[in-house]
């Protein structure tokens, strides 16, 4: 190549640029791992390099990661998974018999008796059967068909797969997807990526973040002017809000979905994380079927569960599933095509899921320790949920709804006008400005409410209740002190 041509080549524009890349990707945001977390990682690096700060560690209360905050894995689960990873250990008498039996059963279902073999794209058949049995038991005997169960790389994978399949149409016919405000930003990210129309329905902060069908109706009617509403997403127990929907509310949502011809997506990954004494988890499927055939044969639904939350907290395994109800067989065939592109979900995650739906029974050797560990995890979370609500509500300028379930608190913060103005000056959402300051001054990483959606003019942050109790108390105290200082500074 001539020097002239070479020079031209060197100074030319990139092939893939911000201008010619997929414009939808540019609209994707995911606050849980967004700008504030990147700053937190930077600060951690600086601490490691010996830079002096008013704190000696960053507390990452931004992400629902229990083990990262010191929660211990459940012994039984890890024993079986170790046996699956290295089957030679089946000869080792330090592992209990019930763990060995489960490992053997799982390995028998794997190609070449190895968790390193691909499984079928929908997931290992006997595990799907176990999941179906678990759902039947949970839902008082309502039948569950293993063919309607799709194992996935975490619930998020299944949620995105469903949305990819359901979103279509152009202009005014573009699929509209209803999602709560506030919401877990995976939904808004997926909808932006797919150029679906996001239809916001507001949860009522004054009524413990409950859902009101009048609000659903308002949202869908307004949306019909510019899109084709076809999907309704609901997170129960809620993220970030932690509310646990009442049975009546779930029935109302199902009735609404039927009237408006909406496909229901019920994100139930926190189903074991219920703390409030007057609250109970009701699965959407159970309620649907108990409403009788008028509903149970017509309303289409997908419900999602995961191994990342509840008492297991095994986020790193990326295990989860969805169950689809009343799906047209031709539509289901599309789903089957989509999951084949992922090849298969991680087999260790599938194995883990199998143990979650098939835990030690009262007559088995591991039962007592398993129950002890499980109970301790859930009891500690309940304690921390109560503690958090109590402490935050004692701070002037912070109001906190009860943490009925899930793993987070989403308190409302009152911000002085001067702080809001300063934030605007710096090009930041006011609650991002607040959280950044908190990070820099106290080394506590939270996610601003703007990352989840909130009513105009209100500000929040999401904090996990996962740090160990003693550390959590310190964190709560620091936030309290910070808030007072902040309010003073900008008064």
């Amino acid at each position: 190549m001539s020097q002239h041509a070479a020079n031209g080549l060197a100074s030319r524009a990139k092939v893939l640029t911000v201008d010619n890349m997929n414009p939808n990707v540019k609209r994707v945001e995911y606050a849980v791992r967004g700008a504030i977390v990147q700053r937190a990682l930077q600060i951690e690096k600086e601490l490691k390099e010996g830079v002096k700060k008013p704190f000696n560690e960053v507390i990452k209360a931004n992400i629902g990661d229990a083990h990262a905050m010191g929660q211990k894995p459940i012994t039984f689960l890890r024993q079986v998974l170790a046996l699956c990873a290295y089957p030679e250990l089946l000869q080792d008498d330090k592992f209990p018999e019930d763990a060995k039996q489960r490992a053997q059963r799982i390995l028998e279902a794997c190609g070449g008796h190895s968790i390193g073999a691909y499984s079928s794209s929908q997931g290992i058949e006997c595990i799907r059967q176990d999941v179906a049995r678990y759902i039947e038991k949970r839902d008082g005997g309502i039948p569950s068909n293993p063919d309607n169960i799709y194992l996935a790389t975490g619930a998020s994978d299944a949620i995105v797969t469903m949305l990819k399949m359901l979103v279509c149409g152009e202009g005014r016919d573009r699929t509209g997807v209803m999602i709560s405000i506030p919401q877990y930003p995976l939904y808004s990210a997926a909808l932006a990526d797919l150029a679906a129309v996001q239809i916001n329905y507001y949860l009522d902060e004054d009524k413990c973040w409950s859902l009101d069908t009048a609000e659903l109706r308002r949202a869908v009617n307004a949306a019909r002017q510019h899109c084709n509403p076809r999907v309704l997403c609901i997170i129960n127990p809620g993220n970030p809000t932690g509310q646990v929907q009442s049975r009546e509310c779930i029935e109302d949502v199902i009735r609404f979905a039927k009237e408006e011809r909406l496909f229901l997506m019920a994100d139930e990954v926190y189903q074991d994380n219920v703390y409030a004494e007057d609250c109970k988890f009701h699965s959407f499927k159970r309620v649907l079927f108990e409403m009788g055939p008028e509903y149970s044969t017509t309303v289409e639904m997908a419900s999602f569960h995961s191994t990342s939350k509840c008492y297991m907290g095994e986020c790193g395994f990326r295990g989860g599933y969805m169950e689809v109800i009343n799906m047209d067989p031709e539509v289901k065939a599309q789903l089957t095509k989509m999951v084949s592109v992922r090849l298969c979900p991680p087999v260790p995650g599938q194995a883990l899921l199998d143990l979650v739906v098939n835990p030690p029974q009262p007559d088995e050797p591991s039962y007592h320790q398993f129950m002890k560990e499980r109970t301790a995890v859930l009891a500690t979370l309940a304690e921390k949920a109560g503690l958090t609500e109590q402490i935050f509500n004692a701070v002037p300028g912070i109001t906190c709804n009860p943490v009925q379930g899930a793993m987070y608190t989403f308190p409302r913060i009152a911000l002085p006008q001067r702080a809001i103005d300063k934030a605007t000056e710096e090009g930041l959402a006011p609650d991002m400005f607040y959280c950044m300051r908190l990070l820099e001054e106290e080394g506590i990483c939270l996610v601003p409410g703007s990352g989840f959606g909130q009513r105009e003019g209100t500000f929040h942050f999401r904090m996990t209740i996962l740090p160990p109790t003693e550390k959590l108390k310190i964190v709560l105290q620091k936030i309290q002190d910070f808030h007072v200082r902040f309010a003073q500074e900008f008064s």
Binding site: M1, N7, L9, A10, K14, L16, T17, V18, M21, N22, N24, K26, V28, G34, L41, I63, D65, H67, A68, G70, P73, Q79, L83, A85, Y86, L89, G111, S114, I115, G116, A117, Y118, S119, T153, S156, M165, L166, V167, C168, P185, D193, R230, T298, E300, G313, C315, G316, F317, D328, V331, Q334, T336, K337, V341, R342, L343, P345, P346, V347, P348
Partner: protein, 477 residues
């Protein structure tokens, strides 16, 4: 109720894989064998997928031991496992938040693992520098490919984005392109010359796209799948010049880089060739190179560990790529660990090294032998022929089917090679992948068969194939 016309047209355009049909039959046959129904064979030989463990290849002991110790750290303190296993497990757990494989990791992967991968790449590529910031670990390499394609392909653009893909091509990548609304623009690999990639054919393909779509990328699989060719450096340089001249993004699927058998074949990475070509090409050609823990000696398909290295991308675009991957949270931790072991296996002097060396050498000599045997046997059968398998996980024999067989297939509404494969499954208990799955050239018929199986299984496979094929050709003569 949601009806078919209300689903995404891109998803509807995806092919229905033949696998579902064959898998159902295979399941039924396995059940019949269990019920002791009389069959001319005692078990199924499943060589449809590139899945070594399913085929009977033993997992590497070091990998299994390290993963077990990471999952159940009590093993780290016991004497049962070799010292280097325990040390590696300890090191890996230190990189996990809370010391647990159950925690999420950083979006790109555990930082120390990403670093070791970048060092591996530099070593592999004769010292070419590799920035860890350019590496993203994902649940398998195809997931990473789909994310990169998502950035490249504007589904609403007119004309639609096109991607040049080999013909025949690995099914999953083609499906991903369709799912994203891209147009696959096939370039034919030259079967008569060992499935060689010829740049004239790339030019022809590019020209054929005029008025049809706007090509944005060239997808290359090296070593190939299903066709087992390994590109020469010369060919790779031509490809690099071609993408540069035509302003295409280069997608290099290199997951079979450890599977090279041909005596005169050598794997060299696109990154290395690009670096050796020097500026301006080495500074300007935009490249995504994919690797995985699913293939090679490790064969850990089920763990879902793969990575992409992004070279020369616009920093502004990289920011969006980061956000896109972050919405996926992170790759499964055990899959990330498998990549770490791939990047830094046991070294001479380590206690696990002798066994590791023995196991990998045994796998390698098995594959070299299998590839030779397939070539010999298949080419000795009339109506069947096979190009030499230089690399990859598969043989891709060509079927010269008698017209009577083709007619019968058409009567049954099947592709001729699917008809052959269905018969092969029912009558000989061998499950292979029909060539129609790979969007082949019109009027050509093939089947793809994984060669990553123990030697005795390969011999049995070839015995059954020989007997079945001879009968088939007689029946349809």
């Amino acid at each position: 109720m949601f009806a078919i016309h209300e689903t995404s047209p891109n998803v509807r355009n995806m092919k229905q894989l033949q696998y579902a049909v064959l898998a159902k039959r295979a399941s039924r046959i396995k059940e019949e064998i269990r019920q002791r129904v009389r069959k001319p064979f005692k078990d199924l030989i499943e060589v449809y997928w590139g899945d070594p463990h399913r085929g009977g290849v033993k997992p590497l002991t070091f990998v299994q031991q390290v993963l077990a110790a990471c999952v159940y750290p009590q093993l780290v303190d016991s004497d049962e496992l070799p010292v280097d296993v325990r040390q590696r497990a300890e090191l890996l757990l230190k990189g996990c938040a809370g010391g647990s494989v159950g925690s999420y990791t950083a979006t790109q992967g555990v930082p120390q693992i990403v670093h070791r991968i970048s060092e591996f790449i530099t070593r592999r590529d004769g010292g070419a520098p590799c920035d860890p910031e350019n590496i993203y670990i994902s649940p398998g390499s195809q997931w990473g490919l789909m994310n990169v394609l998502n950035v490249l392909v504007d589904a609403e653009a007119s004309p639609r984005a096109g991607v040049l893909t080999p013909r025949p091509c690995y099914l999953t990548s083609n499906q991903s392109m369709v799912a994203l609304g891209a147009v696959a623009v096939p370039y034919d690999l030259c079967e008569e010359r060992g499935w060689e990639l010829r740049v004239e054919e790339l030019r022809r393909a590019l020209e054929s796209a005029e008025g049809v779509c706007r090509p944005v990328a060239l997808y290359v699989i090296n070593p190939g799948n299903p066709a087992g060719h390994v590109q020469s450096r010369k060919s790779m340089r031509e490809v690099i010049r071609f993408v540069s001249e035509n302003r295409l993004f280069l997608l290099a699927d290199e997951v079979y880089q450890d599977c090279v058998y041909g005596e005169h074949s050598e794997f060299v990475s696109y990154k290395r060739v690009l670096t050796e070509m020097g500026p301006p090409l080495s500074d300007t050609v935009e490249l995504a190179s994919f690797h995985s823990a699913s293939k090679g000696f490790m064969g850990e398909c089920g763990l879902r560990g793969g990575y992409v290295e992004l070279v020369n991308l616009d920093p502004a675009v990289m920011k969006y790529i980061y956000t896109l991957f972050s919405a996926d949270s992170c790759a499964p931790v055990l899959g990330q660990f498998a990549l770490d072991l791939l990047a830094k296996p046991p070294q001479p002097g380590d206690p696990s090294y002798p066994l590791y060396k023995e196991e990998t050498q045994r796998i390698r000599s098995t594959l070299v032998r299998n590839v030779k045997r397939v070539f010999e046997v298949v080419n000795s059968l009339p109506g069947l022929c096979c190009q030499p398998v230089e690399g990859g996980a598969f043989a891709f024999p060509r079927l010269h089917l008698p017209p009577k067989a083709i007619r019968r297939a058409e009567e049954m509404g099947m592709q001729p090679d699917m008809f052959y494969c269905t018969r092969l499954l029912e009558e000989a208990g061998v499950l292979v992948c029909p060539g129609c799955e790979f969007e082949p050239k019109e009027g050509t018929y093939h089947f793809r068969c994984c060669i990553m199986v123990p030697e005795d299984v390969m011999e049995e496979l070839l015995r059954r194939l020989t007997s079945f094929h001879t009968q088939f050709m007689t029946d349809f003569s």
